[in-house]
Amino acid sequence: MSIISLININYTYPLEEKQTIHSLSLDLEKGCVYGLTGANESGKTTICNIIRGFIPELYKGELTGEVMIKGKNINDYNIGDLATIIGYSFQNPFTQLSGVKDTVYEEIAYGMENIGVPRSKMIQKVDEIVKMFQLEDLIDKNPFELSGGQKQRVAIASVVALDPEIIILDEPTSQLDPKSTEDIFEIIQLLKKQGKTILLVEHKVDLLAAYCDEILLISRGELVMQGPVKEILSNPKVVEYGGQLPQVALYFIKKAKANGSSVSQVPLTVQEVYDHLNKDGEV
C-alpha cells in the first residue's frame, strides 16, 4: 500500500478560470525520497498543499479527486492532527517561526505543546532534536535573531519534532547560501535513514540526483514523468518539459549521442562521474 496516493486530482484556485492541476495521479511509497521538480508555476507547491490538506481547507477553490494518506481518505483526518503524520516545511525561513516563542528551545517544542505531549517527554524529544540538528549553540537565542539558514534549520527541526512519517520540504534551500544548503541536505539524509518518506521540491537537480530515489516531474499541472533518478535525470525530454538536468548529465548525453550509444548510463553526480571515468580508464 502506498503511503500517499493522489487519484485523478483536478484543482482550480478561487477567482481563477484556468485549472492549476489536471487529472493528476501519483503514488508515493514509504521510506523513499522523492524529488518533485518542474518549471516555476508548474504546480509543485499546489501539489504539496493538496497532500497536506491545506487545499482546499485554507485556500478554498475547487478540488476533485481523492487524496489518500496511509490508506485513509484525507477528509477523515482533522487538519490539526495531520501535522503529526505529515511534516511540512516551506521556502521562506522568515515566516516559518511560530512568532510566539522567545527561545529556539521553546520554538522546537511548540508543535508538541499543541498536541499535548507531557512535559518530561517533550524535554527529552527537544534534546534529541537539538542534537540531531546540531542546534546546541542556538537554543537560548530568540528565533527572530537567527540567520536565514539557522531559521530554516530550526523550522525543519520544529516540524520533525512532531515525529511525522512523511515530510514535505518545499524548496527548503532556495533562499540559503551553499553551506546552509549542505546542512539541510545532510539532515534530509538523516531523516531518510530514520525511514521517513520525503517529498522534496527542489530546483537544484544536482542535489536531487545525489539524494533522491525517485523524481517526479511536473509540467503545467500534470505529472509528466516519474521514475528512478537515473532514468529521469538522464532523459533529455526533461528539458522539453521545462525541467532541468544536472550539468554533468547534459555533457555526457551530448557525448553519448555523438558516439551513438545509449544515454541511460550517463553519470549524474560527481561520484558517478568519477566511477564512470575510472571505468573507461580515463583517470
Binding site: 484556485y13 478561487p14 477567482l15 481563477e16 478560470e17 484556468k18 485554507l58 485556500y59 478554498k60 512568532g99
Partner: protein, 202 residues
Amino acid sequence: MKRGIKHDFSLLALLLIPVGVSLNVVGYQLSTILKLPVFIDQIGTIMVSMIAGPWIGLLAGLLGNVVNGMLNPIAIGFSIVSVSVGLVSGYFSKWRFYTNIFGIIIACVLLTIVQAFSAAIVTVFLFGGVTGAGTDLITATFLATGRELWNSVVSTNLISGAVNTIINFGISWLIIRKVPDRFLIKLNYGAPYIKKEVNVNG
C-alpha cells in the same frame, strides 16, 4: 458562508490582530515623526474590522489599548473607544456600507458619533474632562466660553473624532484596495473588497 462570533476566529483572522495592533502603534509613531496634528492610531483597528469582521475588530482595538496601557495606564481607560470603533466598523463592513460612497459617508458619520460619545464618557467620568493630549486645549476653550463640561467634551470629541475617522478610514480603505484578492477571499468579510469577479490566467 458562516459568519458570527463562533466562525470569525480562523487562524488567518487571528493573525490579523497582531498586525492590526502593530499598525496602530506604527501609525502613532509615524504621526509623531511626520509631526501631524492628529494621531493616526486606529488604522489597524479599522482595517482589520473591515476585512475580518466586528469580533476581530473588537479584539484588535482592545488588545491595542491594553498593550499601550503597559506603558501608559490611561490607555486602558480608553479601551472602550477602540472596542466600539472596531465592533461598529466591523458591522458596517458586514452590512456592506463600505462598497459605495453613500454607505461610506453614513458609516463615517456614525463612527465619529460612536467614537465621540464613548470617548466623552471615559473622559468625563474617569478623567474629569481631560485626556492629557493636545485636544484638551479645545475643551478648555469651550469651557471658557461658558459651556458645560459634558457639552464641551462631546464637542471636542466630535471635532477630533471626525478628523480621526476620516483619516483612519481613508488610509485603511486605500490599503485594502491593494490587498490581493486571493487573500481577501480567505477572510469571512473580505468579499466586498475583491476587485474582479473572475481573474483570467491568474
